[in-house]
């Protein structure tokens, strides 16, 4: 009873609330860091240095008028943000964010589930998340939204491949699909030193799959005036936004677990702290990249994937396999 019901429910509530809070404050971090990178302050007015800004944004979004356009396919239009956010939150369940801890004499693993196909689960569901974008863009009855949805699907089809191949090389050296096993395998040397090329490929294609700025095809502001979410307002827009940030958090924690050693680190702070430090470092990197690079042209984005990242990832898998066979 306690083992199978109460502990998972408590974990569920804690993970859900903590990660939603982190997602809200990632928006704050993004605005603040982006501001300082552009020699501005970012939000400063609400609370001390704008600390209450995410809450103010949430309240504002709740009370905005909720519009459904006349041309929209209403069922799909309402369903799309729900798909987006639900799939994003499901992804959080397989992220291991710390070593097992003992509370009240009971050993508690700091993850909700450890399926033996954990990493495939993540890859599959992160792709499902883009259905939210595609359906949202398609059902709006708006040409810009439609274009954004199309581009979103093209991005996910292309970049998923190189991302999966980067993950495959990690699976090969770990010998397991389980994310927890992958973290445990990095006790000595982090995977980023064993697989630097896979790390780079994963990072680039991950940022592309998040639809963040150098690759923000689906919502290119200057071309599509916000793309797939152009017709959304109020809480529906906020859900899309939140889903995007949760995807970013999941991506950052994936980079941390697969390549940066997960919760491993010098022992003077607990493993959970190490995990979150690495996660926020990757989020910072995403924001840094966004502040630096302009958006690539659409054909160049596709060229980068099919002519550069995919061959490199394939070669990396090949070389990894050869080295493992020889050794």
């Amino acid at each position: 009873m306690v083992e199978y019901l109460i502990i998972p429910v408590i974990k569920l509530i804690v993970i859900f609330s903590v990660f939603l809070l982190i997602a809200a404050y990632t928006t704050y971090m993004e605005r603040k860091v982006l501001g300082h990178m552009q020699l501005r302050y970012g939000p400063m007015r609400v609370g001390f240095h704008g600390l209450l800004q995410p809450i103010a944004d949430g309240i504002k979004n709740l009370f905005k008028e909720d519009l459904i356009p006349e041309n929209a396919d209403k069922t799909v239009f309402v369903l799309a943000p729900a798909i987006s956010i639900a799939v994003a939150i499901i992804l959080l369940s397989v992220i291991p964010f710390g070593p097992p801890v003992t509370i009240f004499g009971r050993k508690i693993n700091l993850y909700l589930a450890n399926p033996s196909i954990g990493i495939l689960f993540v890859l599959g569901f992160s792709t499902l998340g883009s259905y939210g974008n595609i359906l949202g863009g398609w059902s709006s009855g708006n040409k810009y939204g439609y274009m954004g949805g199309l581009r979103g699907s093209a991005m996910i089809i292309s970049y998923e491949i190189s991302m999966a191949f980067a993950v495959i090389s990690i699976i090969m050296i770990t010998g397991s699909f389980s994310i927890v096993d992958m973290v445990n395998a990095q006790t000595g040397v982090w995977n980023v030193f064993k697989q630097p090329i896979a790390f780079l490929v994963f990072l680039i294609s991950g940022i592309a799959e998040l639809n963040r700025t150098p690759f923000d095809m689906p919502e290119a502001e200057s071309e599509l005036c916000c793309g797939y979410n152009v017709e959304y307002s109020s809480m529906k827009f906020a859900l899309f936004f939140l889903a995007e940030y949760i995807h970013m958090i999941v991506f950052a924690s994936l980079v941390a677990t697969l390549f940066l050693g997960g919760w491993h680190g010098p022992a003077f702070v607990p493993g959970v702290v190490w995990f979150f430090l690495k996660m926020f470092a990757v989020i910072f990197l995403c924001i840094w990249v966004r502040a630096t690079f302009p958006r690539l042209r659409y054909d160049k984005v596709m060229k980068l994937e099919w002519k550069f990242l995919l061959p490199v990832a394939l070669l990396n898998v090949l070389v990894t396999g050869l080295v493992m066979a020889v050794l």
């Binding site: 020699l39 501005r40 840094w288 630096t292 690079f293």
Partner: protein, 158 residues
């Protein structure tokens, strides 16, 4: 079309053919920006210094005894190109004239500063207050009391 008419945009770029190094240069530049202090000001609380000759809201100057310097001669109202100033003079026998009513419509005013130049007594000056906001048009019609303390109407974000 001759060969000289063609402009090769990307031919002479210094980073032509190099991809990785410029990316890292950009990243390091942005990181340096991240560490420098922002150049923007927090507007309602921090403000830039105005020039001393800035022409903002009007002030009616008072002398040492706290009385208006204005003698209600009407020169400012006369010279005002947008007819923003209305004066009703008042005069008692044997005493100096003073304005019974001195009203400036700040919405009509174009802040040319002619009233300040025309005044023989130095009674009206333009201050550095440039950001007065209010809700009603009637609030912008300044009477003597408001004109004595234009600094009070500086926007502070409250």
């Amino acid at each position: 079309m001759k060969e000289t008419d063609v402009i090769h945009v990307s031919k002479d770029r210094p980073e032509n053919g190099k991809y990785v190094k410029p990316l890292f240069r950009g990243l390091s530049f942005i990181f340096k920006n991240f560490l420098t202090k922002p150049v923007t000001l927090q507007y309602p609380t921090e403000k830039t210094q105005r020039s001393q000759r800035w022409r903002g809201l009007h002030r009616l100057e008072v002398d040492e005894k706290g009385e208006l310097k204005c003698v209600a001669c009407g020169l400012c109202a006369r010279i005002c190109p947008s007819e923003a100033i209305t004066i009703v003079p008042y005069e008692e026998e044997g005493k100096t004239r003073y304005p019974k009513k001195f009203v400036i419509n700040e919405l009509r005013c174009i802040f040319c500063g002619f009233c300040q130049e025309a005044c023989p007594k130095g009674a009206i000056t333009l201050t550095e207050v440039y950001d007065y906001i209010d809700y009603n048009r009637s609030d912008f019609i300044f009477d003597i009391e408001k004109l004595k303390t234009p600094e009070k109407f500086r926007f502070t974000g409250k």
